[in-house]
Each structure stands twice: as C-alpha cells, then as structure tokens.
C-alpha cells in the first residue's frame, strides 16, 4: 500500500518533469536519442557474461533438448512376450516384431499372469501372447490368432504402438501365407505415401515448432523485465527526465532485443538444419520476414507485461501465465484441428500459431512469401497493434 502510494507520487513528479523538459531542439533528431538508448541497452545486456550465455547458448540447448524430448514416434517400446506355442513360427513372429526397432523385448515368460504383472508395474508397454497351437493353425490356414495387450495409460504412445504391432503381425501372416502359396489372390491393398515428410518422423514436424517457442521465450524474457528493472532500480526516472519520448523509449528497448532474437533465429535454424537434418525447402526470405514481425509482436507483448507489473517478480509470473496458453494453443505439440471450435477461434489471436505456419511452411512444404502472405500480414498487424498498445499503456502509467 505504502509502496504503491510512493510509486504513484513519484511517477506524477516524473510526469511533470517530463513535460517541462521536452522541448525539441533543432540539433536533436529523434533517431539519435533512440540510437543512444539502443547503445545503452546493448551495453547493459552484454556487460554480464551470464546474460550472454542465457541469450545465445540457452536457445541452442533448448532446441537440442526439446528436439529430442518432444517426440511422438514409438521406438524401443518395452515388450513382454508370453509364448505358449514355442515353435519356430512363434519365435519368428517375435523376431519380426522386434526387428523394426519400434519394439524391444524386455521379458519372456510362459505364464500369462507375468504379462499382467509387467503391465501393472509399468515394466512393459506392450504384451504379446501367442497361444498354444499357433503354428499348427497358421500352417493349416485355419486363421491363427495372437493377442496384443497394450498399456493405455499413455494414450498417444499406446495408439501408435498398437497400430504398429497389429500391422507387423498381419503382414507376417500375409507373408507366411504367400510363401506357402496359400494366400487368397486379389483384394485391396493400401499404399500410403506421406508428403513433405516421407518417413513420418515426428522430429521433422516438431523441431521447427521448437524454433517458434524458443524465440517467443527469449523475446518475452528479455523485454518483460526491461521496463520493470528500470523502475525497480529507479533509473526509469532518469530516463524520463531525459528528452526521450515514450515512443522512442519503446523503440530503444525493442530494437536491441529484436536484433538479439534474430541472431538467435539464425543460430537455432542452423542447429535444426545441420544437427537434426531438418530440410529447409522454402524461402529463407519468408522465414526472416516472418521471424522479424513475429519477434516484434512478442516484444510488444513482453513490454506490455512489463508496463503492467510493479516488480520483476510480478513480471516473471505474468510472463509465465501468458506463455503457457500461447504455446498450448499454437498447434505446437497439440493439433489445432481436434480442439473444440471455441479454442480453434482463440488460436487465431495467437501470434505463435501464425508463425508456426510460416516456419513449417518454409521448412517442410517449401513455401515462400507468395504462399505465406496472409500469415505475414496478420503477424504485422499484431506487432503494430501490440507495440502501440504497450506504448500507450506506458505513457499512461508514467504520465
């Protein structure tokens, strides 16, 4: 209470001082003031070696970590085998299942109860039970059956694992029948082909998404604290008594961070292409253009958070509360298509969604400015809107 009173009193003094002092002189053109502030911000940013590490090393680490962690492919899924048949055919089936790299046999038993226990304890994700008489049924063409048990607690992994396992088992049966000339001729055969990502590797899909997330985080972290820090340190008054206007101040706070964020973009894009081998098929110009406006929108948001917070702590909390929905409702990790209609509409207001479309379009689909102009336009509008709003808000809090 005391604190806020003091703050208010102080800011009113600042406001008076500011109006008194703002007499534009002829030798003082606005860009020079902005440049001076940019210089000061950059110096402040890089004076501390710790900040340099945070700004340039942590995005790369985040990309590498997330690139590996955010993965919806099923590989090495723990598989428990109960082979009651113990024939060459049943062993071959298990070998075929384990050969693809999607499943790894972690245990074998001849008692079905062990399989249940393995699933209960979470030691296995998938269980395969081959009944007695499997080989005989298969050889006689009587329609052999095996049972697959899937741990459904992790539903997305389970869905993919189940479909892989079913397919492998069926293909084995068809090959077996065909080799013995017992297959029914004809029938419908599905030939699946995936565009843009023929191996259906989830990394190719996720890594470009991580780029959008990392850029947003960096921009928010650097700006959300910018104005509050000046306020907490008491240097905001000093800035206010200088002839700089709120608009110029915002510009001066924005340019250095935008510059840093673009370097970050180049860094993480290089890691994506050279480390993860994500193809960059589209126009680099579209990517840079998109990133520029996206970063500006993110910076505007950060500055807005900064102007509504009294302490760095508050700014950090607010940032965290904003960051979560921005990521969740962006189409990164969670598909937008399956959201309820209301949430789908909400995603349209989310800059991350539009930038994701640009990043994925450029990286995976080989698109250029001609294809992505709607997203670029929306992001530009957002950037302008948010920055203007942040400046207006800032003028009101200090004025």
């Amino acid at each position: 209470m005391m604190r806020s009173l003091q703050l208010r009193r102080r800011s009113s003094v600042v406001g008076r001082l500011k109006t008194d002092d703002r007499r534009p002189t002829t030798d003082d053109f606005p860009l020079r003031r902005v440049l001076a502030l940019v210089r000061k911000e950059l110096r402040q940013l890089f004076r501390d070696p710790k900040t340099k590490r945070i700004v340039f090393v942590s995005p790369v680490i985040q990309l590498v970590l997330l690139g590996y962690a955010v993965n919806t492919d099923v590989r090495n899924a723990a598989t428990f085998v109960v082979d009651l048949d113990r024939t060459p055919a049943s062993r071959e089936l298990v070998d075929v299942l384990a050969a693809g790299g999607q499943f790894r046999v972690v245990g074998r038993s001849e008692r079905p109860a062990d399989l249940g226990a393995a699933l209960d304890a979470g030691r296995a994700l998938l269980g395969i039970e081959i009944p007695r008489g499997f080989a005989a049924d298969l050889a006689a063409g009587r329609g052999a059956r095996v049972q697959l048990l899937v741990d459904g607690t992790s539903s997305n992994t389970a869905t993919v694992a189940q479909s892989h396992a079913t397919r492998i088992v069926q293909q084995y049966g068809q090959r077996y029948a065909a080799a013995r000339g017992a297959a029914l001729p004809g029938g419908v055969e599905l030939r699946g082909r995936a565009w843009f990502n023929p191996d259906l590797s989830s990394r190719v899909y996720n890594v470009p998404g991580v780029i959008a997330m990392v850029l947003m985080l960096m921009a928010l972290l650097l700006t959300a604290l910018a104005v509050v820090r000046e306020r907490e340190l008491g240097t905001l008054e000093q800035l206010m008594v200088s002839p700089i206007t709120p608009g110029e101040l915002m510009l001066g706070k924005t340019i250095p961070v935008a510059f840093v964020a673009l370097i970050d973009l180049l860094l993480v894009a290089a890691v994506a292409v050279f480390w993860f081998g994500i193809p960059l098929r589209g126009s680099v110009v579209a990517l840079l253009l998109g990133a520029s406006v996206y970063v500006l929108a993110a910076l505007g948001l950060g500055l807005l958070i900064s102007t509504v917070s009294r302490t760095q702590q508050e700014a950090f909390m607010t940032m965290f509360l904003c960051f979560m929905p921005l990521i969740v409702l962006s189409g990164f990790m969670y598909p937008i298509q399956t959201m309820p209609a209301l949430f789908q509409w909400l995603t349209l207001l989310n800059p991350v969604r539009h930038f994701l479309e640009i990043v994925r379009g450029v990286f995976l689909k080989g698109e250029g400015v001609a294809d992505l102009w709607p997203q670029l336009l929306v992001l530009t509008a957002m950037a302008v809107g948010v920055l203007r709003f942040a400046t207006a808000r800032f003028r009101r809090t200090v004025g």
Binding site: N71, G143, V146, S154, S163, L190, G192, M317, Q337
Partner: protein, 372 residues
C-alpha cells in the same frame, strides 16, 4: 529443542505473506484449474474426422463401397472430391485436407479379376503424429474391407489376426492420460515457482538477519516455510484429481491412501528442492528461473507425461532417471488408472523417499550455512 509453537509461527508468517501476494495466489489456485481445463478440453490427440480429399478415377459401385467403408469408420470425412491429381497439391499445401484417397481407374476390374487392386492414400506428413495415426486407421479399414470383399460367399479365414486389447484405458482417451500426469506438473509448478521465492525474499528484503536473530531453529524455519505450501499442494492435488473424476470422468481405481502418501513424499522433496534453490540463489528472480528449469520443464518434458521416454536418445533417457516427476507420474497413473498397489510401485515409493530425504536435507543444509 524443536518447538511446534515456533514452527507454527513461521508457518503463519509465511501464510500471511503469501496471502498478500495476489499473483502467487493466482499461480497456486487458478493455474491448476486453468491447466486442467486447457488440457482436458482443448487438447486431445484423439484423431477423429480426418479431412480427406477423394479422387475416385474408377467411379464404380466397388470404389464407392470402399469410400463408404472409410466414412462409416468415423475416422475420416471426405470434404472434397477431385477430378484431377493436380488439385490435390493445392489442397495439401494449404492444409485444407490431411490426406487424399486415390482410387485408380480399373479398381473394380482388378478386384473382379482377383488381381491385387491398389488404392493410394496420400498424407500430409508435416504433422507426423496425425499422419501416422491416420495411416494406421486407413490400413485397418482397407484390410477389413479387403477381407469382406475376398470372403464374399466363401468360408476362409485370414491367415493371421492380431487381437489387440487395451488395458486401463480401453478407449484410449487422452484425458485419462492427461489428468494423472497433470498432477505432477502442477506440483512442480507449485514447488518451483512458489517456494523458490521464500528464502530469497527474506534476503532481498533484509529480513534474513531478523530471522537469524530469533531463537528459531533452522529445521523449524524449513518446515515452517514448507507447511503452507504443503497444504496448498495437497489442496491442488485433491482439486485436480477431484475435477478429473467429476468433470472428465477419469476412473479412480486404486487406493487414495497410497496416492496421498506418495504425494506427500513427492511434495516434501519438491518443496525442499525449491527452498534449497531459493537459499542458494538469494535472488527471487534467479531462483524462479532456476527452479523453472530444474523442476517444471523436466516434469513437463522428461517425465513421460506427454512424450515416451523409451523413444529418447540414450543420454536423455539416462537423465530421466534422476527426474523425480518420472516416478511420481508412474505412481499417479498406477494408482488412478491401473488400480495397482504398493507391490507394483515399491520402486517408485523408494525413489520418492530418497527424493524427499534429499530435498529436505539440501534445504536444511543450505539454510544452516547462511544463518550461522
């Protein structure tokens, strides 16, 4: 030596301080509800109604039957009918459709002649997850349809069939996966973001000396500071699980007592870790950032909550062994969905005890150094 009065006094002071900080309270009480609604309503990987373009070059009864089998499954919806393959390009690039089913000319003729009749499914692979699932559904549909066509009027079985059964979550709903996992994430946020502030705040405001000058024992400080957050954490777990049961219909199959005990251990460890970070960092801002990286992000990404640990590279997999949330999520899933008891979860229980001991030990140790 230890006095309950002094401990409670520290706890009360902490509680009053917490009550005056609206954003921390939002984090403590609103965020869990918000996350639950978000994850429960907005997010689902349940792939339904995949939008499909259809290019039926055959246009026969047989080809229409196949398309019908796709639509009847509920997984696919034909939203566009094409006359030439060229149009498909535009639709896929614009993301109007997720895939296209192409039935070539001569489909019915091949079927009648008992030749293999190929159909093609083109998918937008840029969303690998949806595409993989869509491909799986399509293969099942085509295999079923093929069987029906082949076996018309005949008594013959498929050479080999796999009967898949899903345990614990038969309909494979993502809500059932999300709710138990979310409990662990929310706990990590509470621990990381809230406790990380407590001791750093004393340092920043200069009240640390005052605290050191009082006769309060360091254990009393640590536990006194823990207590309010422990209550909030326990409340949040109850809220999340309760809402999961009531609103989202997640089943609760195991023992409430077991879940409660494990939660208590996990909370103690996580809160201890938060206090440790806070005592070492001495700055609120640094402490929250470190806490976020040390507890919240691993709980979200490396715990098996959303992403399968087995599929990660070996180095990352080894790292997940020291992520406590990994064990806690195994417990919440085990108790809530599987209904298993301590006989299946003793490894996790042991890890939880170690975690609690390490967390509290670190917190107390870091605190002593500063006070004396």
């Amino acid at each position: 030596m230890l006095s309950a009065t002094r401990l409670l006094a520290v706890a009360r002071k902490e509680w009053i301080q917490l009550r005056r900080d609206p954003r921390s309270l939002i984090l403590a009480f609103v965020l869990p509800v918000f996350l639950l609604l978000f994850f429960g309503y907005a997010i689902t990987w349940d792939v339904k109604e995949i939008r499909l373009a259809l290019l039926d070059a055959d246009a026969t009864r047989e080809s229409r039957e196949l398309v019908q089998a796709f639509e009847a499954s509920g997984y696919f919806r034909v939203v566009a009918r094409l006359d030439a393959p060229g149009e498909l390009d535009r639709l896929l690039v614009r993301s109007r459709v997720t895939g296209a089913l192409v039935v070539p000319r001569g489909f019915a003729r091949d079927l009648a002649a008992r030749r293999t009749a190929p159909v093609q499914l083109l998918l937008d692979g840029s969303d690998a997850n949806t595409a993989t699932i869509a491909l799986g559904y399509a293969e099942a549909i085509v295999a079923g349809h093929s069987r029906r066509v082949l076996l018309q009027g005949r008594r013959l079985a498929m050479p080999l069939a796999a009967e898949a059964r899903v345990w614990y979550n038969p309909t494979l709903e993502s809500r059932n996966m999300i709710v138990p996992g979310l409990v662990a994430v929310i706990m990590s946020i509470i621990a990381a973001m809230l406790t990380a502030l407590t001791i750093a705040r004393e340092w920043e405001r200069g009240t640390m000396e005052q605290l050191a000058a009082t006769p309060v024992h360091r254990l009393e400080v640590v536990f006194g500071k823990l207590l309010p957050y422990l209550l909030i954490g326990a409340f949040d777990v109850a809220l999340t699980v309760g809402a999961g049961l009531v609103v989202f219909g997640v089943p609760f199959r195991g023992s409430v007592l077991l879940l409660g005990g494990m939660t208590l251990l996990f909370l103690l460890g996580a809160l201890g870790l938060g206090i440790f970070i806070s005592a070492v960092m001495k700055s609120q801002l640094l402490a929250t950032q470190v806490a976020m990286v040390a507890t919240y992000l691993p709980a979200l990404l490396l715990s098996g909550f959303l992403f399968d640990i087995a599929g990660m590279p070996p180095a990352l997999r080894a790292f997940t062994l020291v992520v406590p949330a990994r064990y806690y999520i195994a417990v919440t899933r085990g108790v809530i969905l599987k209904g298993v008891g301590i006989e299946a979860l003793w490894v996790q229980g042991l890890s939880m005890i170690i975690f609690a001991a390490v967390g509290l030990g670190l917190a107390t140790a870091a605190f002593r150094k500063r006070i004396v």
